[in-house]
């Protein structure tokens, strides 16, 4: 009978909490959206599945050995942890958890040794998270792959569109301001670092958002990544009303002059020029933009095609799987089911909206100032969300004028938006994370 009790106590049914049920349903919901509605499935399938795994009651897949030991809450064990962490008074395991979170690397090591000696281990997803995200590696590798898939040709043919990529990043910073304002009003409870990480949702770029939040606000990473990828999938719904509201029928009809052909040599030199500029101005953006430029150089230089192919296929796919599962590990109920998550979801969509609007408005301005006509619809592509946002620009252009193919024109601001949000990420880390 003891064994029956052991089995029952170790079963999920005996340990399940409401929050875990809710989170599993959210995980299933993300899977539904990814599979049925085609919401960024490459990321949301692993994230959703990881979210379900993370909330399996009693499995502790998303927790470290120390957290798993603390959750077991054996009094003798807790006393040992308290001693190791120098805590003299505590009510519950939670107090010790707080002390652990604030302790230095030495105390962390001591607590880990205690947990291992007591037979607790790191959960599978926790291990994935440590290797893939806490180390910073996975987002950087994905960014390298994105670089190897990016064609800077349209941007090089019309460099002025870089301004649109800059303009659309205003969504990021307006959102930061919104987050701190909500905090000062007492509605939410975000630090400046949290606000910066939330703002980056407006960059509409998944790996950048994950990288920045892993540095500035690891606790919010799950909500931020889910918001970023969900809204990127929603770009075809979020952007058109804003674009229509801010442009006249006449503007939407503007046809743009065909882009000049760009030579291979320009494409080879561009990532190096960008890298040097990053090196001179914003070293904190060097990991992100460095890997991006490296991937792009491998693609364009034409002499390492076998490396470039692997980067675009096996390597980015493997990394995407573990990145997604790792993000899922941040969907544990006690970290995700929080008013802050609602705040993040709300602020995130505001960021997308403001970014879209800024892009369109600056495009209108450029159209007035420039000799050659610029269709303001390509401004919205500056948020990035490659290539969805450029497709949206194209679609609205065709609606207004069936001969108006904006796709290639919109690819310029689109990839400029990737650079823009990586630069914004560098500034944030430099100013807030230092």
């Amino acid at each position: 009978m003891d064994n029956l009790l052991v089995l029952w106590n170790s079963s999920g049914l005996a340990q399940i909490q409401v929050g875990q049920v809710v989170m599993m349903l959210i995980g299933l919901g993300l899977l539904f959206l990814a599979i049925r509605k085609n919401f960024e499935p490459l990321l949301l399938v692993p994230i959703g599945f990881g979210g379900i795994l993370a909330n399996i009651p009693g499995a502790g897949l998303a927790y470290s050995a120390v957290e798993n030991a603390l959750h077991a809450a054996d009094p003798a064990m807790l006393a040992e942890f308290a001693r190791a962490l120098g805590v003299t008074v505590y009510d519950s395991a939670k107090d010790i958890q707080v002390a652990y979170d604030n302790a230095g690397a030495g105390a962390h090591l001591a607590a880990q040794q205690l947990a291992l000696d007591a037979g607790y281990g790191n959960g599978m997803l926790y291990s994935f998270y440590s290797v893939a995200i806490a180390s910073g590696i996975a987002p950087l590798v994905i960014f390298m792959g994105v670089g190897a898939m990016t064609d800077f040709g349209p941007l090089l043919a019309n460099p002025k569109t870089l301004f649109l990529g800059a303009a659309a990043q205003f969504g990021i910073f307006a959102t930061v301001l919104g987050a701190v304002t909500l905090t000062s009003l007492g509605v939410m409870d975000f630090s400046v670092a949290d606000a910066a990480a939330i703002g980056i949702i407006g960059g509409a770029d998944g790996p950048t958002a994950i990288y920045v939040s892993s540095v500035l606000a690891p606790d919010l990473l799950g909500a931020i990544a889910v918001a970023a990828y969900s809204y990127m999938a929603l770009v075809p719904l979020i952007q058109p009303p804003i674009m229509r509201a801010l442009t006249t029928e006449e503007e939407r009809k503007i046809e743009m002059v065909q882009l000049r052909p760009v030579s291979q040599r320009e494409k080879i030199v561009f990532p190096l020029a960008l890298l040097i500029l990053v090196a001179l101005l914003l070293p904190d953006a060097a990991p992100l933009l460095g890997m991006f430029c490296f991937g792009n150089l491998m693609k364009e230089c034409g002499v390492v095609d076998r490396l470039s192919d692997t980067v675009q296929n096996a390597l980015i796919n493997i990394t995407t799987i573990f990145l997604g599962l790792s993000v899922g590990s941040k969907l544990v109920a006690d970290k995700f089911l929080d008013m802050n998550t609602l705040g993040i979801l709300g602020l995130g969509i505001v960021a997308f909206g403001i970014g879209t609007a800024s892009g369109v408005l600056i495009a209108k301005l450029m159209n007035r100032l420039s000799a050659t006509p610029i269709n303001p619809l390509i401004g919205s592509a500056g948020v990035s969300a490659v290539p969805m946002a450029a497709r949206v620009s194209n679609k609205l252009g065709l609606e207004a004028n069936p001969h108006n193919f904006l796709l290639m024109h919109a690819m310029g601001p689109n990839v400029a938006g990737v650079i823009g949000s990586a630069v914004a990420a560098g500034v944030m880390i430099s100013l807030v994370g230092g």
């Binding site: 003891d2 064994n3 409401v18 969900s230 075809p236 008013m339 609602l342 969509i349």
Partner: protein
């Protein structure tokens, strides 16, 4: 667990095999029910396309995800605060 090792082995066999049978029996029930539900309420179109993919522009209903999560969190909060 009993002290002698054979007793422990017997226990492991009884509870282990029992769990395997119960688990897979439950899986039979759930699978059968699931298949019936899917076949009746969510039948696929007769065309034998494997996993028909929606074009990207087939737009998802906005806010679906947000609405769902929002509702979930509110409900959770409310429960907790009671």
């Amino acid at each position: 667990m009993t002290d002698d090792i054979v007793g422990q082995g017997v226990e492991l066999m009884v509870y282990g095999m029992g769990t395997v049978v119960v688990f897979l029996a439950l899986l039979v029930v759930i699978t059968t029910m699931m298949s019936r539900l899917v076949t009746r309420y969510f039948p696929e179109l007769p065309a034998p396309e494997p996993a028909p993919r929606k074009p990207v522009s087939a737009a998802p209903a906005e806010g679906e995800v947000v609405a769902a999560i929002t509702a979930a969190i509110h409900q959770h909060r409310n429960k907790k605060s009671q």
